[in-house]
């Protein structure tokens, strides 16, 4: 493995994860994440060739139900908990082409 995480990597990951980072945050997370990844290098000693990955404890197959109407959550109750709602929908700030 032995890839060493850089400050630029951390800045990129923060952007992907939608987290704002100050310069000080970037320094601290780079240091902490690098230490963790160093520790995780213990697994480099293992020969994992031919080992099948295990993503779930038990094999899962699609779980289907009959295609009939079921009760759902109450729309007004759900929207009442949203930070902003309008006309029975979630309200968000502009998504595209904001001309500032």
């Amino acid at each position: 493995m032995s890839v060493h995480i850089t400050r630029a990597d951390v800045a990129k990951v923060a952007k992907l994860a939608r987290l704002d980072m100050s310069e000080a945050d970037l320094d601290r997370y780079t240091d902490q994440l690098a230490k963790m990844l160093d520790h995780f290098e213990d697994i480099d000693a293992l020969d994992l060739s031919g080992v099948e990955p295990l993503s779930q404890p038990f094999p899962l197959v699609n779980v289907m139900r009959a295609d009939v109407e079921q009760p759902t959550l109450d729309r007004d109750e759900v929207l009442a908990m949203a930070p902003a709602a309008e006309q029975h929908r979630f309200r968000v700030p502009p998504i595209l082409g904001l001309d500032l």
């Binding site: 987290l19 994440l33 963790m36 213990d42 293992l46 099948e52 990955p53 404890p57």
Partner: protein, 473 residues
């Protein structure tokens, strides 16, 4: 010895004791010690009084309110409760009131339990000390200079302080068993899929399980019978009814093969290891056969877990974006609103795990990290399968240490992660495990012995637990 769920329910159902009086005992204890302990994010005393009165009315009318009639219970604050704030001890969900109940909550209500409150946790269940709660830490009722463990520290403390007779927690890498050990109570992580997770706020979906905290093994068995069993609303739920566990408790351990993992990672305190040896000796004296087994991949569990769990968390926690629930920090456009909300709403440890998970899943690193971690999961599963060909259950310490002091893990996240060394491997493979108090060690503080069993091995696990509990009396 505090009241048990079994004795309370029997007394309430027969009309000997009123549920309202039981509840008042708990509320009085909360009133005198909660300011110091901080087990709860919310005490629902009014709703609890209404419910207890209803239980008493039903008993008086000749009805049976159920197997947990009048039993006070505390719920970890990552379980959805309709109309009752559910925060995950995070600012990002502050003020949110879920529009539905978790299946476990519905089943407990149907069994006659009385909900006394929502318990504190490490934010989004990420931590081993409850120090990561956005609302301040919980203190260990046995020594308030020390942590109760985590992430379900509030639930463990609530039972240890007898604020409630029983509690519910969740366990992704040890979050029920480790605090149970540090607070001297029983804690169970059931087989993956044995208890419905509908309404449990997700942390790492291939690892999370809900389970009980109790004073006794019998109470834990009863609680498992109430909350276990198939639920169509959780597609990972095993399609079979709850296992009957109470009939197992008196069976003893004669002829049982109890495995000692000879290549268990080192690092546990001497006092903790002494108690583990005492547990082996106890079971042997009662007719069990102690066998040596090897689980070579056990030691790699920590690395696999701290790649898999953050990877899944980074995906699960993407939903906290300021759109549908919880807090929002307004900004000029949606992307800026997402980032501003998440940056203000999440605490340090949650951000760290989202970062490591996002990194492990990102293009160019997936195979080196997440892909490898999934292969280690397979190695661990294979090693356990070989061990369970020789042994019916395995015994390890639950936690490498007794309860530690606040701040003692410093600013080094890895030091905290090492608390989970012995509990993590079972989550990675979906097996059941439980912690049973078995004497004391350093500073006179309690030690938990962990019993591991293969998938759906709860019957033999509870049999072993009952034998250890009887010996520890």
């Amino acid at each position: 010895m505090p009241r048990t769920a079994v004795s309370t329910a029997a007394a309430v159902r027969s009309g000997q004791v009123r549920a309202a009086d039981i509840l008042e005992e708990h509320l009085a204890r909360i009133g005198s010690r909660e300011a110091e302990i901080h087990a709860f994010n919310l005490v629902t005393d009014d709703a609890a009084r209404t419910r207890a009165a209803d239980i008493d009315r039903r008993v008086a009318a000749g009805e049976d309110p159920g197997p947990l009639a009048g039993v006070s219970i505390a719920l970890k604050d990552n379980l959805c409760t309709r109309g009752v704030p559910t925060t995950c001890s995070s600012r990002i969900l502050e003020g949110w009131r879920p529009p539905y109940d978790a299946t476990v909550v519905e089943r407990l209500a149907a069994a006659g339990a009385v909900f006394v409150g929502k318990t504190n946790l490490d934010e989004f269940a990420m931590g081993s000390s409850t120090e990561n709660s956005a609302f301040g830490p919980t203190r260990n009722p046995l020594d308030t200079s020390r942590v109760p463990g985590g992430s379900s520290g509030g639930s463990a403390a609530a039972v240890a302080a007898d604020f409630a007779t029983i509690a519910i927690g969740s366990d992704t890498g040890g979050s029920i068993r480790q605090p149970a050990a540090l607070c001297g109570v029983v804690g169970v992580k059931p087989t993956y899929g044995a208890v419905s997770r509908y309404g449990l706020i997700a942390f790492a979906s291939s690892l999370d399980q809900i389970g009980p905290f109790t004073h006794t093994v019998e109470d834990a068995a009863l609680l498992m019978e109430v909350i276990g069993g198939h639920d169509v609303r959780d597609s990972t739920s095993i399609p079979q009814p709850a296992m009957a566990l109470r009939p197992e408790l008196g069976k003893g351990v004669e002829g049982l093969r109890v495995g000692r993992i000879t290549d268990l990672p080192a690092g546990a305190d001497p006092g903790v290891m002494e108690r583990l040896e005492a547990a082996f000796a106890t079971l042997e004296a009662r007719g069990a056969q102690i066998v040596d087994v090897q689980v070579p991949a056990f030691t790699y569990g920590l690395t696999a877990y701290y790649l898999v769990a953050p990877a899944e968390a980074s995906s699960n926690l993407a939903r906290y974006d300021g759109v549908r629930f919880g807090m929002r920090v307004d900004a000029a456009d949606t992307n800026a609103m997402y980032s501003a909300t998440r940056s203000a709403g999440f605490g340090d440890e949650v951000k760290r795990r989202i970062m490591i998970g996002t990194y492990a899943l990102s293009a160019g690193y997936f195979d080196a990290y997440y892909g490898k971690a999934l292969k280690i999961r397979r190695l661990i599963a294979n090693d356990f399968a070989a061990a369970y060909a020789k042994a019916d259950v395995l015994l390890t310490p639950t936690s490498p240490t007794v309860a530690f002091e606040f701040g003692s893990k410093g600013d080094n996240p890895l030091a905290m992660y090492l608390c989970d060394t012995y509990t993590i491997p079972t989550n990675l493979v979906g097996h059941p495990a439980m912690s049973v108090p078995f004497g004391t060690a350093e500073f006179g503080l309690p030690v938990g012995v962990q019993i591991l069993a293969p998938a759906l091995g709860e019957p033999v696990m509870f049999r072993t637990a009952a034998a250890l509990e009887e010996a520890a009396k």
